[in-house]
Amino acid sequence: MKQITAVIRPQRMAPVRDALLRAGVHGMTLSEVTGFGRQGGSVEEYQGVQYKVDYVSKMRIEVVVTDSIVEEAVAAIKAAAQSGAIGDGKIWVTPVEEVHRIRTGERDDDALT
């Protein structure tokens, strides 16, 4: 099994979730994060002093999947999250050794269905 971590634009959250569900994923875990990167962040203004908010709001998706659908899931995220402008985000894949479903005690692939 693999963990796919994706950092995307918040406004793409809804389509990405739908795309992942279509790709056969049955669950995922989301968090609000803050990203640094090429994307410049916004210049805000407070009482006449400009200040650069060089961090931008992003959404982080963590999804553990069985090996066979990794590729499809990554492709689904990429397609749904892409706008083409700087700041679309990153996806990375890491190995997972065990998965447990707490409720039933099911393990590994069974825990992911």
Binding site: Q11, M13, A14, D18, L21, H26, E44, M59, T113
Partner: protein
Amino acid sequence: MEYNPVYLDIVWTLLAAFLVFLMQAGFAMLEAGATRAKNAANIIMKNVMDVSIGSLVFWLVGFGFMFGANPSGWIGTDNFMVSGADPSTEDGLVTFSFFIFQTVFAATAATIISGAVSERTKFGAYLLYTVAITGFIYPIFGSWVWGGGWLAELGFIDFAGSTVVHSVGAWAALAGAIIVGPRIGKFGRDGKPRAIPGHSITLMALGVFILWFGWFGFNAGSTVSGNTGAIATIAVTTNLAAAAGAVGAMGLSYFLWKRFDASMTLNGVIGGLVGITAGTASVGPGSAVIIGGIGGVVVVGAVIFIERILKVDDPIGAIAAHGFAGAWGTFAVGLFAQGAYGTSSDMGAVNGLLFGGGVEQLGYQAVGVIACFAFVFPTSFVIFKIIDMVMGMRASDEDQIRGLDISEHEAAGYPDFAPSVGAAFSGTTPEGGGPPTEPSTAPAGGSS
């Protein structure tokens, strides 16, 4: 010192005006609380600027159009910039006190709109319309009723402005909401409305309490005289109607959805208050309970009607509360007026249909209600249309998603708090196939 009743009149009128002024804070908090955190600075700025620009414009031209000499019965023609008030005379000073009271009324009519068009209207466009309503729309209609114009002549009764202030604001808001269109994500592909909850129930409640407080000034102050005991019955009917509005709205929403809906209940308070405003000086406590209670019910019904039938997006329910409940309250004078109350408040010994009067008064009330809609809605529609064509009213989808605080004011409203994941979903359009909510759980559920 010799006794002069005028001083108590001025003291009363001013204090009432101050309370009405505070309603601006009430509207600001209610509207901010009922919309999303990412638009908080924007709605705040709209509220601050409509009372500011409204005060200036009403002074410049509005007051003259509304209360200047009105030979035609259709518009006032002098006293612009309160030029007729001489500070060295008693009359002049009374005029100044009347003027400040009227100024805060004009600002109230203006601010009603900000809620209905919130979360997607450009700031500049909004300010332009504020000029129009405080300078022209509100004063012109007002002159017909309170400036001694044709509706006053007819016998139309609207003591503190269910129609003159609240419906005027609401019908203008309706025109604005139609032209600017719904917020992105408000209606799904299927045309069904999605709920877009506001970001702070405590601010909403604070706003409503402040409005309720200010409304005592709004209604009782409309005597513009402290030398009358009628202000006591006005205060009583105002309070009972607000209370009944809350009960009515909560009751209906419990009946419909089996839950005690907080935002509907708060809107019910407003509905009760708007409803009693026209007849507050003409009806008794029992009637006030009925008028307010129905006002609360009307708000719930109208929110549903506006959203599901008209398919108009009014984020805070302003059109329902100020327009529909205002119309109801104005009619209700024709039903519930009692001579004893109207006499004590100088509104005339009018009896409504249920208290032995004829249908006559009901007819006058209907004329006033219709005249208001017939004048305000089309005029505002045209003005908003022109503003839209000239400078564009609607913020881009991208700006709506980022929030107007960043796009218009380049400053977040709450930089120290982390946004919730839910905030990122709230009111975004489904870009994948199908409606956004159902399928996400269905497959997961189905395949398990």
